[in-house]
């Protein structure tokens, strides 16, 4: 019965229920009170803290990189431009699992192992927290779309537009302009604190050439902005902004058309061309061949491309031949000759008898003239300085150099910039070697021997000069002693730029101005003195330059040279059975300026041409110089020499008359022999 039939006190039950509801109400009130305390704690007591945290969440101060200055050539042609690309960037702090993210990304876009490797390198660098680190440069439109669609799965990943360098002329100016590439850790560490700050938003820095020399001008000043970002790091709003100051636009003396002409004229050869405006020292052309595509370096060169560039030990495309030294060979002869005249070791009348070799007093060893290596054989016979220059007679200079001594040669030639870097803004150019007793003692710990002087007096032995130095010396010769120092930068933001010369040097003082005229005449004969009945009495470059272009409207002063690559004992050179491989062939050199001997127009351009293993200075390097000078004088400066009244020069008229006769007689036996020799030596 009990449990089935119970006393049911409805009123008591109702009151019991009411009491329970009262207890529940109290509990509810207490719980709400606790919640309220918590909310007051969050929203009133800790309000300042959380408000700051909320701002810290969304507000980010970030750098705005400045636009890099543009680089123009002398005529206003754009050599270095900025182009927009889209990069994939990562804010590491926003990424939970970087490995997973990278894996997902590599399924969406092309992500080479190198990209990932470089990215990890970048992550290790010192950087502002929550700053974005580039992972892949230059996304394609399709890749951009793929990443955007998957953005929700990729927190911390964003696509950022960026302006990067582009070099429209590509390979043409690769060495002279140089390139920018990603800043590496060493470069960042080397910065002072304020400079590092200035590079806060910059990924690239000039590595070589103008880009490196004028990095400070080109870079500009960084700007700042405060942006609001969402939790995936995407910028939602810009709140505050200090604009960056763009880098300066640079105008160079460089003439892109001349670069193109020089490059084409070099053809398949390896080599270098440097052209200088003798009036200013402005570098008009500076070509090293082969070049490379500087655009490859901007967004990170691939390993394959890079190893292709560095493993090519024959062509060495990254090696700048314009600023690296080679034996200048016979191109120094006009300078040694001028020194001989100035210091009285010879004069315009001095004549030596050249048997084809030179012998020091009391020494059996013979220094051979190049003519020993020709089919006809030895010597030039009676030779004065002028003939020694246009025929490039070694024996004359062996004798002259020996008598001048290395000290005189050193002090005289150093006025032309040999052995030093005269360039004002090509700091990376090497100095070559203008040997002296001190130099040999210091570097080789050996005394200076008379034989060393003899080698030096024909630009061999210890003497080394860069094509840039040869062009500089030639420009100074064109100026008849007025020293100009080579420079690249002509104007900053359109304002003409006058560089500070930290080590000003005086002009080359020649007591008798007649000697300048004499040397210019001799160098002009190198190019213009035609064949005649007289044995070995033509200019070494006549065949390749003046005879090849009978309508040449101006005179060119030049000097050829052939630099020995390997030191082959002079005795062995006499043997007929030497088979020189291509790489052992002589380097061909040619220096020139023009117009020469012009009554009204000063020399406008001085050129040095270096052709690696080109063998024949006059026939291989000479036409390159001719092409560059033609292009500059006739096409760029547009000088109409025919229209310029000329005062017929006696000697030139005589040469012209002889050239006419020579043509009438040709092909005479003499001319054939001369032709043959012209190809053999300079």
């Amino acid at each position: 019965m009990e449990g089935r039939w119970q006393l049911k006190d409805r009123e008591a039950e109702r009151r019991l229920f009411a009491r329970r509801m009262l207890v529940a109400s109290i509990v509810i009130a207490l719980l709400f009170a606790a919640l309220l305390v918590k909310l007051i704690n969050l929203q009133i007591t800790q309000y300042d803290y959380f408000a700051a945290r909320a701002d810290g969440n969304r507000l980010h101060s970030q750098y705005v990189p400045p636009a890099r200055g543009l680089i123009y050539d002398r005529s206003g042609e754009l050599l270095a431009d900025n182009q927009p690309i889209f990069n994939l960037s990562v804010v590491r702090e926003r990424v939970d699992d970087i490995e997973e993210t990278l894996e997902l990304l590599s399924s969406l876009i092309r992500l080479a192992p190198e990209d990932v490797e470089q990215f990890r390198e970048r992550l290790k660098r010192r950087r502002v927290p929550f700053s974005s680190v580039p992972l892949r440069y230059v996304l394609t439109e399709e890749e951009k779309a793929r990443v955007s669609v998957n953005a929700h799965r990729l927190p911390g990943i964003s696509i950022e537009p960026q302006f990067v360098r582009s070099y429209p002329s590509g390979e043409l100016n690769a060495h002279a302009i140089g390139y920018v590439s990603e800043i590496n850790r060493e470069e960042l560490d080397a910065f002072a604190e304020d400079v590092r700050e200035n590079y806060g938003g910059t990924n690239h820095i000039g590595k070589t050439g103008i880009e490196r020399t004028y990095e400070t001008l080109l870079h500009g000043e960084v700007g700042y902005e405060v942006v609001e970002k969402n939790n995936r790091g995407q910028v939602m709003r810009r709140l505050e902004r200090t604009d960056p100051i763009a880098g300066k636009n640079l105008t160079l003396y460089l003439e892109n058309r001349l670069q193109r002409v020089a490059t084409e004229a070099l053809g398949e050869h390896r080599g270098a061309v440097v052209a200088i405006d003798p009036a200013t020292g402005g570098i008009l052309a500076m070509v090293s061949k082969p070049g490379f595509d500087p655009n490859l370096f901007v967004t990170g060169i691939s390993n394959a491309d890079y190893s292709r560039l560095i493993t090519d030990t024959v062509n060495t495309p990254l090696f700048d031949r314009t600023v690296n030294p080679y034996p200048p060979a016979s191109t120094v002869k006009p300078f040694i000759g001028l020194g001989g005249l100035q210091h009285g070791f010879t004069d315009t009348d001095t004549v030596i008898q050249d048997p084809g070799y030179f012998r020091l007093p009391g020494v059996r060893y013979r220094w051979g003239d190049y003519t020993l290596r020709t089919a006809i054989g030895g010597g030039h016979g009676e030779t004065n300085l002028q003939r020694a220059i246009f025929q490039s007679c070694d024996t004359f200079f062996y004798d002259l150099g020996y008598r001048m001594g290395i000290d005189t040669i050193h002090s005289f030639l150093s006025q032309f910039g040999f052995g030093q870097n005269f360039a004002l803004d090509v700091g990376y150019a090497r100095t070559g070697v203008l040997p002296s007793r001190e130099w040999k003692q210091a570097t080789r710990n050996e005394p200076w021997y008379p034989g060393d002087t003899i080698n030096s007096s024909i630009g061999q032995g210890y003497m080394w000069a860069t094509p840039l130095q040869l062009a500089t010396a030639t420009a100074i010769a064109a100026n008849k002693g007025v020293v100009v120092k080579p420079r690249m930068l002509a104007a900053i933001d359109g304002e003409p730029f006058e560089p500070q010369d930290p080590n000003p040097v005086g002009n080359v003082q020649i007591d008798n101005p007649e000697h300048w005229r004499y040397i210019e005449e001799s160098m002009t004969m190198v190019v213009h003195r035609p064949y005649s009945q007289v044995f070995r009495d033509y200019g070494t470059a006549y065949e390749a330059i003046a005879r090849a272009d009978r309508d040449m409207s101006y005179k060119m002063a030049g000097k050829s040279g052939s630099a020995q690559v390997v030191s082959i004992a002079q005795d062995i050179l006499q043997s007929e059975d030497i088979d020189l491989s291509d790489l052992n062939k002589d380097h061909a050199l040619f220096v020139a300026y023009a117009p020469a001997q012009h009554p009204t127009i000063k020399p406008q351009i001085a050129v040095a041409v270096f052709v690696e293993n080109g063998q024949h200075g006059s026939s291989v390097a000479g036409p390159v110089a001719k092409a560059v000078i033609d292009s500059y004088l006739l096409d760029i400066l547009e000088i109409d020499f025919a229209a310029v009244a000329t005062d017929p020069d006696a000697l030139l008229s005589e040469d012209a008359e002889r050239a006419r006769q020579s043509d009438e007689n040709s092909p005479s036996l003499v001319a054939l022999i001369a032709e043959h020799e012209g190809h053999r030596h300079d």
Partner: protein
């Protein structure tokens, strides 16, 4: 002094006395409680308003949510049309059927969000049968206890426990701990309101306190342990497990007293708050409307709760009282657990903020509960038992 009319001896107590027939008002005719309805409409409106900002003005979401609320209101009205005695009569049958369906779910159920609690029957929208248990369990317990002398003796409490834990266990098997917990709590509320003796209550609380370390050490899943550790120190993993609670506290705290203004909640609009439409919508509200906004919400909730309590207290029989009390307390538990979890007062438990968070099934379930409340309120004039 006890009047004899207040006592009688009954078996299987049906209402055996007739109340004087009162003038039936318009609201009683249509079986709607206008006060509760007003409170609910205000909550729904406020909810849509906040959701509009939380979704960034996503009209489609707002329209769907409003549609869901409309369905809920219709269901509520429909539920309220049936006499509460009807529910009482059918409670055991419904309970048995519900158990069978839960068993069926275990066999042919569909898994969503990690819980195999959905039933996808052809021709019906997919739904969670476990939701139904949230009111079927208190209904059954109210049916069971109301007809027995109160406070319940231990045997009745034992059976009440069995009736509660049986479906709860089935729901745990579906891997839906949150619903199982709420079902259990709705049952416990009935027993507590029925007058479970305090010493039993305290003994239970004490036992739970003793058992909880053991649970933590031996039974808790890794993710549950993680949630508890994160509750005590959110900054042990600020970008992982602690991220939600840190960001939501930043949102609430940075709202201050007056808030940042409607639509200006940077934390939610910049996606720092996860689940800003659902479980963490309170953070959006607190950021944009500040402490004042939260107080308004609490006031609206209190209005509904007080009305529910009033319905419970004035219900004409014990079944109605217990059921109305349990529904009201369960509603409170929902909102309190959510608000506490979002503000960091409790560990994170995946429960939505009732009538404010975006959601489908749960909203309809809530309105069924409110419909039962209205039925209790408007069917108080009962016919004599046959």
């Amino acid at each position: 002094m006890k009047a004899p009319s207040n006592r009688d001896f009954v078996r299987q107590s049906n209402v055996s006395f007739t109340q004087p027939r009162r003038l039936r008002s318009f609201w009683q005719v249509i079986h709607i409680d206008p006060i509760l309805l007003a409170g609910l409409l205000a909550l729904c409106g406020f909810g849509l308003f906040v959701l509009n900002s939380a979704t960034g003005g996503d009209a489609e979401t707002i329209a769907r949510q409003a549609g869901t609320m409309g369905i809920g209101l219709v269901v509520m009205c429909a539920v309220a049309q049936f006499d509460i005695q009807f529910y009482r009569r059918w409670a055991p049958t419904a309970y048995v059927l519900a158990l069978l369906i839960l068993g069926l779910v275990l066999v042919i159920g569909v898994e969503k969000n990690g819980a195999k609690s959905w039933l996808d029957l052809p021709g019906l929208p997919s739904f969670q049968p476990s939701e139904l248990l949230k009111f079927i369990v208190p209904m059954l317990l109210a049916w069971y206890l109301a007809s027995r002398a109160l406070p319940p003796n231990l045997k009745h409490v034992f059976w009440a426990g069995v009736f509660t834990l049986l479906p709860a266990a089935l729901i745990v098997l579906q891997n839906d701990m949150g619903t199982a917990l709420m079902v259990t709590m709705s049952g416990i509320f009935v027993v507590l309101l029925a007058g479970l003796r305090w010493r039993v209550v305290f003994a239970g609380i004490f036992a739970a306190l003793i058992a909880s370390p053991a649970w933590y050490l031996f039974l808790a899943q890794p993710h549950q342990k993680n949630r508890i550790l994160t509750f005590f120190d959110p900054y042990r993993d600020p970008t992982g497990a602690g991220y939600n609670i840190i960001q939501s506290q930043i949102a609430i705290g940075s709202g201050g007293v007056y808030g940042k203004g409607y639509g200006n909640g940077a934390q939610s609009h910049l996606d720092f708050i996860p689940e800003s439409n659902t479980d963490f919508i309170l953070a959006v509200l607190a950021e944009e409307f500040g402490l004042i906004g939260v107080l308004v919400l609490i006031a609206l909730y209190l209005f509904v709760i007080i009305r529910g309590a009033r319905i419970a207290l004035t219900a004409s029989d014990m079944f109605g009282r217990l059921l109305a009390g349990s529904i009201t307390l369960t509603f409170f538990l929902y909102l309190f657990v959510n608000m506490s979890m979002v503000s960091g007062l409790l560990p994170v438990i995946g429960l939505p903020l009732p009538l404010i968070s975006r959601g489908g099934t749960a909203v309809v379930t809530l309105f069924i509960g409110f419909g039962l409340l209205m039925s209790i309120q408007t069917h108080r004039v009962t016919r004599p038992a046959r």
